[in-house]
Symmetry: C2
């Protein structure tokens, strides 16, 4: 059979994962057995939230040395020993950083090509219609409990979760403030309809910058960052404010977590902070995906993909997610 | 008129409030005008949660130099220019650290002496039936969302909030673990029916100690302390665990707050943390007070008062609340 390439874990990273934490292997996938399929990957995703699983710490079920790096992906069935899938079917699932793989016929979603067009690309299934978009959808609506007229603050707002969250917020009648790094990202957020943007790289004092953008305070903070940015938001929350902990990208690469200082504010301002794992809403995914796709087709929700061509780029592109380069959904074309 | 004594703020404390932060004044209260009463204080409370208002920082409405220190109290009307109160009536309200005061006839609750007996003392109105007891009641039930069979962890468990919370937890079918400092307090909690106790002064590693007491994890953490203890609890929370932020006594006297490090756990374990201000439940107070009094009369809820005789003891007794001496409700007999 044909040889393919895949990235495996070479060593557990400490800090931002360097390239030598990953090994690019050539391999020949096993021929599918009964109930299995062989998938040729077209695209896979780079997920900052997966960082914890690379560390092999004692608290999270981590990857072992030699394991293929995990990610969402879309691919094509190129051999099948399953009645569920035929050669040529397009599927979405947890394919990993690999050009091909043998996979059980469970845990894969068949994609209907008729659902995709020039407005909704098939890659959206692992982006705005996948984990990032669904995280924004359920995090904002279930944990954020938004009411029209309220103020929503979002960190890492130009990333795929943040940008989707902000646009959903606008459709719900919220006033939306985004925090992002650099003029390009801020201009992008303004184009998306954000009411205000904060370029954290241009601000000395984030507490004051948020206060200037939201003088009456913040009702919902949708946090993708954590650490000092979360503390700065807490100091600007209105009484009964809700903090949605979607990501903590500032923490993932730290030897010791920084966390927050302002816990007393939880009492004085009756704050609520709640974490999100999107898979808890799995039964509601189809309905949410249909609603998100409708917003895209109505021109109310734009999404951005940043696609690198070639599996060899994955580790370098992954590392940039942690140094402020999270601008649109990062995907790899697995050629 | 007679001279009385009261404690006023002499300087804003930094750290544990030292005695020179308070000034003991002799004064003659103004004669009550129309709509006012003159109250002779019998007892007033010492509240760790009031600490923030002494600091005069920019975030909390603080006391000014010369203001009478705030607290709950019970007293007797000794002169009245109000149709609402007659001389001899007993009242409860925010009387402060003073032997007497002139007060508007609003914001005072008249106490019916028939409601009190050898099981429920009148002082309970500023303790187990007052802010500490109501904080335990609403914090556990509204924010904690307890289900029978779940595990409840409580810090500062021998204090008036914690001890009440644990006993209410037992009536709800919870497994209750208390954290307290010293063998006396731990023995007291065992007597109250706590399932397990952790003497934090005798433990090197609080994370491990909690894990040993709750090997399957904690569903509800009722936190009166904050800081490192809160972090240790977070590392032991079950998925979908609830953290009730009732007090942060470890933080109140710090120049810089310590806060928590483990915010990433909010994602991996879908945790919720929420702060409590008991006055938000004011409309439900009478019903809760009746239920708490019934538990006391049924022998299901014991409470402990630690009464110092003489207003001059207030500052010293107040400071001990922050160094682990919070054991029962601290009251001052205002003689």
């Amino acid at each position: 059979m044909t040889e393919y390439k895949r990235w495996t874990l070479a060593k557990h990273p400490s800090g931002v994962p360097s390239e030598d934490c990953f090994a690019l292997e050539s391999f020949t996938p096993d021929a599918p057995q009964d109930g299995q399929v062989l998938i040729r990957t077209h695209y896979f995703s780079l997920d900052p939230g997966m960082r914890g699983r690379l560390s092999g710490d004692s608290y999270a079920a981590g990857l072992k040395i030699g394991d293929t790096i995990e990610s969402a992906g879309i691919g094509e069935i190129i051999a099948s020993k399953s009645e569920r899938f035929a050669v040529g079917d397009m599927v979405m699932g947890g394919l990993g950083w690999t050009q091909a793989l043998t996979h059980p016929d469970r845990g894969l979603q068949k994609l209907d090509p008729a659902l995709f067009d020039d407005k909704v690309a098939m890659t959206a299934t692992i982006g705005v219609l996948g984990v990032p978009g669904l995280t924004a959808w359920f995090g904002l609506q279930d944990l954020g409990q938004p009411q029209a007229g309220e103020t929503l603050l979002i960190s890492s707002a130009a990333g795929p979760v943040g940008a989707t969250c902000g646009q959903i917020g606008k459709t719900l009648g919220l006033s939306v403030i985004g925090i992002a790094g650099g003029a390009d990202k801020c201009a992008y957020l303004t184009d998306l309809g954000f009411d205000a943007v904060i370029d954290y790289k241009a601000e000395d004092n984030l507490v004051n910058a948020i206060e200037a953008a939201a003088p009456d305070g913040v009702d919902i903070y949708f946090d993708n960052v954590g650490g000092e940015m979360l503390d700065a938001a807490i100091l600007n929350m209105k009484p009964k404010g809700r903090i949605v902990v979607s990501g903590q990208v500032a923490e993932y690469n730290r030897e010791k977590p920084v966390g927050i200082r302002q816990t007393t504010r939880f009492i004085t301002h009756r704050l609520r902070m709640e974490g999100l794992v999107v898979y808890d809403y799995a039964k509601q995914f189809p309905k949410a995906q249909a609603a998100i796709a409708a917003l895209i087709r109505d021109g109310k929700l734009a999404y951005k993909e940043d696609i690198s061509d070639g599996i060899e780029h994955a580790p370098r592109a992954y590392a940039t997610l942690f140094v402020g380069a999270n601008f649109g959904r990062r995907l790899i074309k697995a050629t």
